[in-house]
Amino acid sequence: MSRRVASVNVPTPVITASSLTKRYGDFTAVDGIDFEVTAGEAFGLLGPNGAGKSTTMRMISAVSRRTSGELSVLGLDPEDYGPEIRSQLGVVPQEDNLDTELTARDNLVIYGRFFGLPRAVCRQRADELLAFAQLEEKAGAKADDLSGGMKRRLTIARGLMNTPQIFMLDEPTTGLDPQARHVLWDRLFRLKEQGTTLVITTHYMDEAEQLCDRLIVVDHGTIMAEGSPAELIRRYSSREVLEVRFGSDRNAAVADDVAAIGALAERVEVLPDRLLVYTADGESALERVIERGLRPTTSLVRRSSLEDVFLRLTGRSLVE
């Protein structure tokens, strides 16, 4: 085989999964999924809790064995080459598992050692990454004493100690306040700009829209849709969404009335607290609703988001 097969023009697939399946007893967590991630891409797994995102991440990270199907990471089978694959991955787990008794800096240094990096390299790299994670002032603080957002940034810094080929982030910003999330997104965006391959799971659509070039929407262990955020919105939703509230006891009752505004309402979704009117033109749709004598207590016109895609595909909200 020629080494020229993969040129710069043809992106190299770094992860390839086909019919990938994971069962725990009778429960099927991941049900025969197929996907490919290419080098330099930011790939997202979007889905609600329990959709099988983390299980998929764990199989890619060679810490959980697949039940059946094929999986190749960097051209290697995780079944036989666990340490080899893990040596090239950076992993940010859903739950921080820092050594809370150690300082921020020691957490990084010791983690680098697990990859066989010389101590001097670990120390230098730890200092660089503390700066990258904006934690220089906390270098000597115990991990336990850091705030939630700082712990998360430290975990991300830790995952970069080995200059990974693929950076795996399992719900990187869950549980963080908006400001901490933005700092984190900014850091991840820098990595993306430098060409790091990112694999991100999230149940936040804004996160997926900000960070992912391409994503799969996962529910009950199967892939519901695949594409870039913009593509998915174009394919599965309207341009705009009109949200109207009539009070929780009346929403369902007026839904038919709202739908009757005609072709402008492509689809009406009834949620417990509001109605979503999928439409090409939200302002005009709102005018029609009011013309029909309906008086919503509040109304909002916005662009379609991945949340709407998910609702369309599964009939459920992403975040309960």
Binding site: T12, G75, P83, N97, F114, T163
Partner: protein, 309 residues
Amino acid sequence: MSESAPADGVATVNTSRYADAAAIRVNAIPVGASLDERREAALAGARKPRRLGGWYNAEAFLLSMKAYGWTIIVGGVGSPLLYLLGLGLGLAAVIPVSVADGAAGPVSYVTFVAPALLVTATIGVASEEFTYPVMGGFKWRKTFFGIAATPVSPPQIVSGLVIAVVGRMLFVSVAYYALMVVFGAVPQPGLGMLSILAGLLAGLAFGLPLLAYASSIREDKGQFALVQRFIFTPLFLFSGTFYPLDTLPVWLHPIGWLSPVWHGAQLGRWATYGAPTPGWLLAVHALALVAIAAVAGYVAGRVFTRRLR
């Protein structure tokens, strides 16, 4: 109008918040690298961890021990001091007869009891390090799951922990031995140094089954306190620690045979004062300790793998 208001219809740009662009080297491999090059990097990246992962883990555990290094040092020196003073000066005074013979005739009580105390000290370290820290790694701090995401394997976490704990036991038993010599409890100071080795073996033979058990526990329901009370204490009392095993009725002897404390103490006694012991029995003591430790260490590795994979 404030100073920052737009001039000529151009909005102001505020860059102060994220202005510090800390540049880091992220990619060890260029974005355009081929799959072959990427695979080669992976194959190379695992070579050292596959070989040395246990030592990296030992380094990490020793670093964690630094957090309570002071108690290790004070306990390691203070505890033998108290025991040797209490038993050597106190209890020995009310025991007028010699309880054992050495190579050169009857030996003092403190000489008899000291090698067994050394063994209980290493076992004490083992029962401290192979219980709660293990539970913490799996359940509380979950650090083992973080390590499991690196190239090192779960059994290498076990060997790292064992290396680190042997380090701590070595410190404790050397301190013990030095104080025993100071207290005149070691008639054969040269050969007696082998009692340190006996202490390490006994500590592992007691500690590794405990490690295997601790790593299988998912909920802390006070199991370790029960182990302390109903396993460690009986072994401590009925293993010929304070008096020879054959003082006890025959039906209690099996406790001693099963006990790492007894095997370790008997080896130590042969080393420090030449307690008459046939060669085959020395071999049995040593083999019993090595066998228990080896089997339990293997089982612990399996349990770690099952939980982390």
